[in-house]
Amino acid sequence: MANLWRKLTYHDGNGWWNLPHGPSNELNPPHEGPIGGAWLMNMFRTMTHGGVEHAGPGFYWLVGAALGIITLLEVWLFGVEGLGGWYIPILLGLSVLKFVGVVAFFMHLRFDHRMFTYIFTSAMIIGILIFSLILLFAEIAFTPPNVF
């Protein structure tokens, strides 16, 4: 179990969640294995052709396929009855997965300079906080006028 955890969370010897220090405009950042561990890295190298350690077309196709499958799953869930209170949390979870997939790999935040991650994440946190408060106040203290 500890080994599995290490493989999932470690990235080239560093914690996977550690953001890269690299410059902002490297053409092919050398530390682009999405997740660490020998078997995952081997699979990654196979998919990205030629054993290179940066993301290539194969990897992008893989991410694209994952995004498509998650979308199919969401639509399938829409037709499933009996999920009850689980429906919205599951959908939001899948939505977050897709969101992170695009931002981390297609927008290269996972491999780019950490400053960009800080900027975008700060905006997300502030935005979510403010709009959560708006929704909260609207729910408990303010009834929007039924205009039409």
Partner: protein, 215 residues
């Protein structure tokens, strides 16, 4: 102006106070502000969700299968975008042009879906002035559609540049910055699709109002 220096790893470093490319930094800052912009409209939609006193309601009008297809198209345009950027960076001009052109085509298809959807809704009696659902729905999806339109035009310009050979590996940052914008438009739609379509698609009249509305 910035100049690129080369490190011992042959990775260019921007000669700026931050060490980051200023244009790219500006785009990320813009995207951060756009998060707030879209967040405001999404929050407004949620505040007024289920408050419409007259129809059509989401449950009567939203078409999940059709929107799922358009969502898939937009996701695939993001894939085409990142592939286009990869091939520009590796100097494979024809492949790069093809994939950037694919972004344009897929983006245009998405816009087509949205146009047909808006027209269908109008035909069924839902306009921005019909009810509060119509107002919040059309403003949010319309602004997103405007973003897509700008992105399609931008990509068309870059596809032409790639075809003519003016977009190359050494100035691939032009495409990378446009790509950031395009992917952002995609992730906004990921949220809209979940919140407006999948979660709200069963919304009807406000609780307790059905008997009043329908007599």
């Amino acid at each position: 102006m910035t100049q690129a220096a080369t490190t011992e790893h042959h990775a260019p470093v921007e000669d700026t106070s931050t060490g980051l490319n200023s244009r790219k930094l500006m785009m990320w800052a813009f995207l951060g502000s756009d998060v707030m912009f879209f967040g405001a409209f999404i929050a407004t939609y949620l505040v007024y969700r289920g408050k419409s006193l007259i129809g059509p309601y989401p449950s009567e009008i939203l078409n999940i299968p059709i929107t799922s297809v358009s969502t898939f198209v937009l996701l695939m345009s993001s894939l085409a975008m990142v592939l286009g950027l990869h091939y520009v960076k590796t100097g494979e001009k024809n492949k790069a042009t093809l994939w950037i052109l694919a972004v344009v085509v897929l983006g245009a298809i998405f816009m087509g879906f949205q146009f047909v959807e808006f027209r269908e809704f109008a035909h069924l009696g839902l306009t921005p002035r019909t009810n509060i659902f119509g107002t919040t729905f059309f403003i949010l999806t319309g602004i997103h559609g405007a973003h897509v339109t700008i992105g399609v035009l931008w990509m068309a310009f870059l596809a032409y540049g790639s075809h003519k050979g003016t977009l190359r590996a050494d100035n691939s940052l032009d495409l990378e910055i446009a790509g950031l914008y395009w992917h952002f438009v995609d992730i906004v739609w990921i949220v809209i699709f979940t919140v407006i379509y999948l979660i709200s698609a069963t919304d009807g009249p406000p609780p307790g109002m059905e008997s009043v509305i329908h007599g």
